[in-house]
């Protein structure tokens, strides 16, 4: 269970409040107007921004002061999710050990993750030799081997075409289903939310609203969401 208790996040004159609970294993879309603080929220959960006030707890333990790499979090950014000078295999292996010294079972784990995303023949290539969709698959393979409880997506598929984006979202849905991870994904497209999220968190007017079931919320939006959806 992810708990945000009376959280206040401040970022150069901009304040965001959050007080909500997200149950374990849920798939949550974070939507709202641009500039409302969706990315700020995700970055704070990942440990890149400090809380001014309040606490973030995962299964009861406070994450305050825990470094980004030590949190139960795997995160994909908008871009730059792969190191271009490392091979596909090395990029995935980073999810297990940052110094890339892997034993045999760990190497098998990397290989299995690549098989799962359908890139087992590409392990020795550099990211530049891959298509955009394949690069996203590599990043997802790394998320698999990281084996963290929380998966945070800050619109990593925004640069992909519509069909490819849908393909990636479906893969994400399958992966969190298989691993039992809790998913939070930023999106500005309500159809993304309908496709894979069972709940929606609305970020608007300096406030992160509590999660609500996707379909009823989008079918019958409150004023703040309606203003955004148009």
């Amino acid at each position: 269970m992810l708990r945000l208790e009376n959280c206040l996040i401040e970022n150069s004159g901009f304040a965001l409040r959050a007080d909500l609970t997200i149950t374990r294993g849920s798939r949550v879309a974070v939507i709202g107007p641009s500039g409302a603080g969706k990315s700020t929220l995700i970055e704070t959960l990942a440990g890149f921004r400090p809380l001014t006030n309040g606490a973030i707890r995962w299964n009861g333990s406070d994450l305050e002061g825990v470094e980004p790499g030590k949190r139960p979090v795997a995160m994909l950014f908008q871009d730059g999710n792969l190191f271009p000078h490392l091979t596909v295999g090395q990029n995935v292996a980073l999810g297990i050990h940052a110094n890339l010294r892997l034993d045999q079972s760990q190497q098998a784990q990397v290989q299995a993750a690549l098989v799962r995303v359908g890139l087992d023949s590409m392990a020795d290539r550099k990211p530049a030799a891959l298509s955009g969709g394949q690069q996203s698959r590599v990043a997802l393979a790394r998320v698999l081997v990281q084996g963290r409880d929380l998966l945070l997506l800050d619109e990593p598929f925004a640069a992909l075409g519509p069909a490819l984006k849908v393909e990636m979202l479906d893969l994400v849905a399958e992966l969190v289903e298989e691993t039992g991870a809790t998913l939070l994904m930023v999106s500005h497209d309500p159809s993304d939310a309908r496709r894979i999220a069972d709940q929606v968190v609305l970020v608007a007017d300096g406030c992160v609203h509590a999660p609500q079931p996707t379909a009823p919320l989008l079918d019958n939006p409150p004023p703040a969401l309606k203003a955004y959806l148009g």
């Binding site: 990942a46 440990g47 890149f48 921004r49 400090p50 002061g65 470094e67 980004p68 790499g69 030590k70 979090v73 795997a74 995160m75 950014f77 730059g80 999710n81 190191f83 271009p84 000078h85 490392l86 980073l94 999810g95 940052a98 110094n99 890339l100 550099k126 530049a128 790394r142 990281q146």
Partner: protein, 518 residues
Amino acid sequence: MADCAQPVSPRPGIGAAALVVALIFGTLTAVALRAEVGRGFGASDWAAVRFTLTQACLSAVLSVGLAIPVARALARRRFFGRRILITLLGAPFILPVIVAILGLLQVFGRAGWISSGLALLGLEPVQIYGLHGVVLAHVFFNLPLATRLILQGWQEIPAERFRLAAQLGADSRAMWQLLERPMLIRIVPGALAVVFAICLSSFAVALTLGGGPRATTIELAIYQAFRFDFDLGRAALLSALQLVLTGTAALVALRVAVGEGFGTGLDRALRRWDGTRPIARLLDGMWIATAAVFLMLPLGAIVLSGLPGLTGLPASVWAAALNSVLVAALSTVLLLLLALPMATAVALGRGGAIELAGILGLAASPLVIGTGLFIVIYPIADPFALALPVTALVNAVMALPFALRILVPRAQVVVGRYGRLALSLDMRGWPFVWRVLLPRMRPQIGFAAGLAAALSMGDLGVIALFADPEFATLPLQIYRLMGAYRMEAAAAAALVLLALSMAAFWILDRGGRWHAEA
């Protein structure tokens, strides 16, 4: 705090910066403590100050004044070899001073090509020693730099402005008033200040082409006070004066200068619609040709006059060449050990003080540091035995400002782009440095190392203070051969030095870019 989380620590960089500051101010203090109170400056000291300022002013005005028409011609003409010519304009930066001087002597000297031509007509040979020789050499070195700085200004005028001006029917004169004059007013003061600051601390040029009471720079006076009179007090006094002058000039240059003249993209040709009249074409062509000949002729002269002597080079030259390679290698390693942590620390947001420490190298004079190190080392060890490491260290500090300008922007990009990804993967410290920072910065590291190696290879500065008769680097050995009037051997040795400098730069720069992914 979480927002301060970084994949590497800035501490090594802060340490390196502290080391540089300690070296520069420590040596200065050592020198200052030896300066005798109440002795003041003599007439010859004031003459050195006057000469230093005069030659720096003349060099700056001539270099920049000539660079304006050359840059303008290069900016608006496209021709075969333009790209190569613009690349060559960057070469004097790593060209050993002593090599260029030998080349200039070959062309402009008493027994040079021009004098020989004049003699055929029954005229007196031209005189290269003294003020005009020093200025000539400085213009040779700084005309290309000024041209690149000003060309950069031209290239930064958006192409749309030229299109708009052409659409409005602006002729060359209107174009000048609308676009070019405002740009020059912005760029020229910086270019003047940079060239002035560079020429202030000129040592090797003054040592070879100047000298005597009427053509001695402060740096040269420090050297003479130290080497000939062993008058540490006077050397110290002159050192302090030199530091104030160069420090002031460097600060002014940094404040008004825009760009550093070795940026990329200068070979981009701008489409223009003015200056199509034959007379404009002719004038532009003339400027480009004159500048190209002025820059290429001395280098060609070195190759031509050096080749015959190559086979019979004395063993001392090869020994000196080996010393130079060792100095350059050590200096490059020291430079990277200082510059990489400093660039990383700046990229982590610890800018200010560290960048200032890096820039100190521009203001500090190598001879002041050298004198200070000598004073510090003298009671403990034999300074002459330490000539090699001391030269390498001083060269590294001198190359530091340039290296930081190359490394810092890239380090900022790498940390900005991959810092958070690395943190989210719990990749910190050495794994981040080895797996991300160094591989991603390799092209810039290669470029900076190439510059440092070439600068150190060709440096004739602090080594002149520290060398005993048995020990020399190649530039010093060339100077000694010149002093002994063995010009053919000197020219051949200069050719070797030229090849070594260019090879060192080429290998390191190429090595950095080899198989580097975008």
